[in-house]
């Protein structure tokens, strides 16, 4: 249970922890840690259970959260979670193929959304945004996807490829550096101010009765549909195409993949490209949901998407999507239900506390994430 959480088993760290646990002092420490983890588990079950119980009782009594509000929270949770999921895919894919966390991925997402903003602004100024929103959306989607893909591919080429044979802590730290580099490059190029996307047309802001009984805001339907289509596309790409098969082969065993005639470098580039494209889509989903964007926008969603990827079991693509949605629900519903049920005031402002507590809790219960299965069993230097 004291296995390293975010790092794969054959990692240097785990080797260290294994040797440590062999010594007597290590055994003592492991026992202590295990006991502490059990304490956290039981406490977590009690607190969360009580919170949920109270808020369900309150709703049934017609006090606390109304049924309508519940519906709203769930829908927002799923929509936001779908966006996290799209972003989480990139973390998971790069981890699967190269075995490190690309912390610059949030900035890849921000870059796409930022460049698209200027296109959206131009479309708005020309009246196209109003007269033909579908076309405008299509254009900004393409621009975001291209921008994010380009950034991801350049970062791989310039920053990560030279470090291919270095211990994985090195590209990981590099990715943090790249993350800041990109943030301040965008701040320098486009200013530090917050930019706001033009409002979507009325018909998207109104609620539509899905299936006749579930009223959902148009933008959120759009977000979910776009995420669903992208996810299906990605699934098809990874499972059914030649390139996707090459990607899975490279993730499992680079040397043998090369032996099959697969060009490993090119496959890694396409992994970054696909992850970047998904981040570009996520950027537009962000724009639809929140509309505002600044050079710092990539940071928190990035960390949260990373959380989602870990929640789902890093390296597992379906897990990344599910992890995203679980996190979205946690953030929106969990906040109100658990904190509200416990009677904590101002629950809404504690969103981020909830999402990261969720990460800690899931890892305490299931260190490998919800679908924890390693994508790769290859030994890395």
């Amino acid at each position: 249970m004291a296995a390293p959480l975010l790092i794969r088993r054959e990692d240097e760290t785990s080797v260290v922890s294994k040797t440590v646990s062999k010594s007597r002092a290590g055994k003592f420490r492991d026992g202590w840690v295990d006991g502490f983890l059990w304490f956290i588990r039981i406490a977590a079950i009690l607190v969360v259970g009580f919170g949920i119980f109270r808020s369900v009782v309150m709703t049934l009594n017609g006090e606390g959260t109304s049924i309508d509000a519940w519906e709203n929270l769930i829908v927002s949770g799923v929509a936001q979670g779908a966006m996290y999921g799209m972003l989480a895919l990139g973390y998971s894919m790069v981890y699967g193929v190269l075995g490190f966390i690309n912390f610059a991925h949030g900035e890849v997402f921000m870059g796409g959304a930022m460049v698209s903003f200027f296109v959206a602004q131009a479309l708005f100024d020309n009246g196209v945004w109003e007269s033909n929103f579908a076309l405008s959306l299509f254009i900004i989607l393409i621009v975001a996807v291209l921008t994010s893909t380009l950034i991801a591919v350049i970062v791989e080429r310039v920053a990560y490829r030279p470090l291919r044979d270095a211990p994985r802590i090195i590209p990981l730290i590099t990715s943090i550096g790249i993350s800041f580099f990109l943030q301040y490059t965008f701040a320098g190029l486009f200013g530090e101010g917050v930019k706001t996307y033009p409002t979507p047309p009325d018909y998207l802001r109104n609620k539509v009765n899905v299936l006749g009984f579930l009223p959902i805001e148009g933008t959120k339907i759009l977000v979910m549909v776009v995420a669903l289509i992208s996810m299906i596309g990605l699934y098809f790409y990874v499972q059914k195409t030649r390139a996707g098969r090459a990607m899975r082969a490279v993730a499992e065993d680079k040397e043998i993949a090369a032996l099959m005639g697969i060009n490993v470098d090119r496959t890694i580039v396409s992994t970054f490209a696909v992850g970047g494209a998904m981040a570009g889509v996520a950027g537009i989903l962000w724009a639809l949901l929140f509309r505002s964007i600044s050079f710092i926008t990539g940071f928190l969603p990035g960390i949260k998407a990373f959380t989602a990827a870990v929640l789902g079991g890093i390296g597992n693509l379906a897990g990344a999507m599910v992890g995203g949605i679980v996190l979205g629900l946690f953030e929106n519903v969990g906040t109100i239900v658990v904190l509200g049920g416990l009677g904590i005031p101002g629950a809404g402002t504690l969103k981020d506390v909830i999402s990261f507590s969720a990460l800690v809790l899931v890892l305490v219960f299931r260190p490998r994430g919800l679908f924890g299965e390693r994508l790769s069993h290859e030994d890395r230097p």
């Binding site: 098969r245 090459a246 082969a249 499992e252 090369a258 099959m260 005639g261 697969i262």
Partner: protein
């Protein structure tokens, strides 16, 4: 060996030296393999056998000397190009893609081909009827013997001219080893040149045409399989130990 064309060896090492960093692994290795031959490379642990195969595939580049395929220098080319030219390998410990299905493993063996695979698959099912029953199973869940079958099948899917095998008997029960060597013999009889690395010298020499013995990166013996089996030096150093 009647016509003049076949005098060009299909695979040749010319005075090959390789290093891992500053450490020299192969030392002036010369090997010649004619088309259709089955040749084995014998040697103890860490003598450089795997490195020899990796050098053929371009996974290790010689520091000096050349590797030739059909008379053409291939050392320095990328693995992809060398595989494209008709070399494939059954790696040490098989190393299937554990999370892919058996069928996907076979199909990925034909990654560089774009033509129809039905015939090749049929041929593999004929050699290994067991494989056909397991097509939808994840390769990681197969037994060692079954994994070996899939690994050989995967290597055959690229229709190689030269098949490299790295310790095919490693980790297999004796019955399976015998079966496995039967299959290798059949593949060779059907026209594929086989270059096999083995520690099980008796077994390897019983089916091979010729053998080389590698000792700390140097070829110390090269002869026909019969002569090697009868060689007293060989008997003392390798044949006694392997039984």
């Amino acid at each position: 060996m009647t016509d003049t064309v076949s005098t060009t060896p299909v695979l040749e090492f010319r005075n090959v030296n390789t290093h891992y960093g500053p450490v020299q692994i192969l030392n002036g290795v010369n090997i010649t393999i004619a088309e259709g031959e089955m040749v084995c490379l014998l040697g103890g642990n860490a003598s450089g056998k795997t490195t020899t195969l990796k050098t053929i595939l371009g996974m290790v580049t010689p520091t000096s000397g050349e590797v030739l395929l059909d008379g053409e220098v291939i050392s320095g080319m990328s693995t992809t190009h060398i595989v494209e030219r008709g070399v494939s390998m059954v790696p040490e410990n098989r190393r299937l893609f554990a999370r892919m299905t058996v069928l996907e493993n076979l199909e990925i063996g034909a990654y560089l081909r774009s033509d129809d695979l039905t015939e090749d698959l049929e041929r593999i099912f004929e050699l290994f009827p067991r494989v056909k029953e397991r097509l939808a199973q994840k390769a990681g869940t197969l037994s060692g013997g079954e994994q070996q079958m899939v690994a050989v099948g995967r290597a055959m899917m690229s229709r190689p001219k030269v098949l490299l095998m790295d310790e095919p008997s490693m980790g297999l029960a004796p019955v399976l080893v015998a079966q496995n060597f039967d299959i290798i013999e059949r593949i060779n009889k059907a026209g594929t040149t086989v270059f096999m690395v083995e520690q099980n010298a008796n077994m390897a020499l019983s089916i091979a045409d010729r053998g080389y013995v590698l000792q700390t990166g140097e070829i110390v013996l090269a002869d026909t399989a019969e002569n090697l089996l009868a060689n007293p030096q060989m008997r003392a150093a390798y044949l006694g130990h392997t039984e």
